[in-house]
C-alpha cells in the first residue's frame, strides 16, 4: 500500500483524467452518437421491414383465401346454372312430348269422330237408298203383280188365304 501511494503519480492522474475526458467528448460527438443512431435506425428499419413483410404475407393470405372463395362461389354458381339449364331442357322436352301426344290423340279423336259421323251418314244414306230402291222394286213388283185383274184377284185370294190361316 505504501509503495502504491509512493508510486502514485499525480501528473499521470491529471493527464489521464484530462485526456480521457477529451476522448469521451470527441468519441461521443464523432463516433458513439452517429454509430448508435445509425444502428438504431437500421434496427428500426429492419423491424419495420419485417413487420410490413408479415403484414403483406397476411394480406396475401387473405387475398388468396378470397380468391379461393370467389372461385369456389363461381364454380358452384356455374354448377347451379348448368343444373338449372339441364332441368329446363328436360322439362321442355317432356312438355313438348306431352303436348304432341295430346295434340296427336286429339287429332285421332277428331278423326275417329268424323269417321263415325261419316259412317253414320253413309249408313243413313245407304238405308235411304236401300229403302228407296226397295220401294221402287216393290212398286215395280206391285205394278207387275197387279197389272191384270186375275192377278189382283189372286193376290186378294192369297191374302185371304193367309188370313184364314191366321
Amino acid at each position: 500500500m505504501e509503495k502504491l501511494i509512493e508510486q502514485f503519480s499525480f501528473g499521470l492522474f491529471f493527464w489521464q483524467l484530462l485526456l480521457f475526458g477529451i476522448l469521451v467528448y470527441f468519441l461521443k460527438k464523432f463516433a458513439w452518437k452517429p454509430i448508435l443512431t445509425a444502428v438504431q435506425e437500421r434496427e428500426d428499419s429492419i423491424n419495420n421491414a419485417l413487420l410490413s413483410a408479415e403484414k403483406a404475407r397476411i394480406e396475401m393470405q387473405n387475398l388468396q383465401a378470397d380468391n379461393e372463395r370467389i372461385l369456389k362461389e363461381a364454380r358452384s354458381e356455374r354448377d347451379a346454372m348448368l343444373k338449372e339449364a339441364r332441368e329446363i331442357k328436360d322439362k321442355m322436352i317432356s312438355d313438348s312430348k306431352e303436348e304432341a301426344q295430346k295434340q296427336a290423340s286429339k287429332l285421332i279423336e277428331q278423326a275417329k269422330h268424323t269417321i263415325e259421323n261419316e259412317k253414320q251418314a253413309a249408313i243413313v244414306e245407304l238405308k235411304n237408298q236401300v229403302a228407296e230402291l226397295s220401294i221402287n222394286i216393290a212398286e215395280k213388283v206391285l205394278k207387275d203383280e197387279l197389272s191384270s185383274k186375275e192377278k189382283q184377284l189372286k193376290v186378294i185370294d192369297d191374302m185371304l188365304k193367309d188370313m184364314k190361316l191366321n
Binding site: G21, L23, W32, A38, R42
Partner: protein, 364 residues
Amino acid sequence: MNNIKLIKLSAILLLMFNVSLNAKEVETNQKEEHAASGDLKTEIKEYINHHLLDSHDFSLYSYTTDSGEHKYVGAPLPVILWDNGLVVFSSSKLHHGESVAEVNGNFYKLYHGKIYKTDAAGTINYDDKHHTINEKPFDISITKNVVFIILVSLLMIVVFGRMAKSYNSNQAPKGISKFLEPIILYIRDDIAIPNIGKKHYQKYMSYLLSIFFFIWIINLLGLTPLGVNVTNNIAVTFALALLTYLITFFSGTKDYWKHIFWMPGVPTPMKVILAPIELLGTFIKPFSLMIRLYANITAGHIVLMSIIGLMFVFKSWIGSSLSFGLAFALALLELLVAALQAYIFTMLSALYFGMAVEEHDEHH
C-alpha cells in the same frame, strides 16, 4: 472464415514477436550489466520493476558502449513542472537520472522515476527510514504513459470516427465496423440495458463504450513489444475509477441517497448503523474497480516477464524451452485478461450507474 484464421495467425505471430523481443531486451540488459552486477536474478527483477514503471522519456531499449556509457534509443519527452511557476524542459537534460538538469538556476534530478529538486551536485538526502526528503516539485510531465494515452485516444477517434462515417453511405456494417459493431451492440444490449434499464441507459452509453474500448485497446497494446503498459499505473486506474464514482455520485436519485443514509424499512437503530456502512460502500465500489484493474494487469506482466526471465536463469535447453512454452501460454491468457478486465470494469460501472438511477417502486 478465412478472415478469422488470418486474425488468429497474426495474433499468434505478434505474440511470438512480442515474447522474443522482450526476451532480447532482457538479454541485452543481461549481457550489458552481467559483468557489473554479477547477479542475474536481481537484474531481471530490476528490469521487470523498471518495465512496470512510467518514465520521463520514450526509450525503446538501452545498451552500454565499450567505454561504459549508457546509450538509450528513443525520444526524449517534455518535462513540465510547477515549481513557483511553470518549468518546461526536455527530459534529455535529465539523462535518465544520470545527471542533474539545471533550469532557471534550479537543479532537478530524476531518482527512482521521480523528479526531485537538488543542489548542483545532485545530492539526494534521506531520513532515517530511507525516505527521500528532497523537495518534490509538482510534476505534470508528458511521460511515456501520457504519450501512449494520447496515441491510443487518437487511434480510437480515428477508428471509431471512420466507423461512424461508414454508416452514412450504407446501412450494413463494412470493414472494421463488422468487427466492432457486435461489440458495441453487446455493450448496449448485455451490459448497459440489463444493468441500467431501458429508460436511462442512453446517457451512459458514451462513457461505457469509451471506457471499455480504452481499457481493452490499451491493455492489448500494452502486450505488444513496443507497447507501454499504462493500466498498471495506480494513477490511471484511479482516474478511471474516480470518473465512475463521480458519474454515480451525480446521477444518484433522491431514492438512491435515501437508501444510503436512511434505509427505509428497517428499525431506526439499524438505520444509524447502516448509514456509515452504506456510505463506505459507495467508496469501496470504485476503489475495488481501481485495485482490480491495476492488480490484474500488473500481476500479469510481472508473471509473464518473470517466466521470460527464467529462460536466462535456466540456461538449459529443456528449462528454457519449457518456460518459453509457459510464457507463450501466459501471453495468450493475458490477451484474454485484457478483454476481461475491460469487460469487468465496464460491467461494474454500468451496475453502479444502474443502482444510482434505479427506481424503487416498493419499500423493502
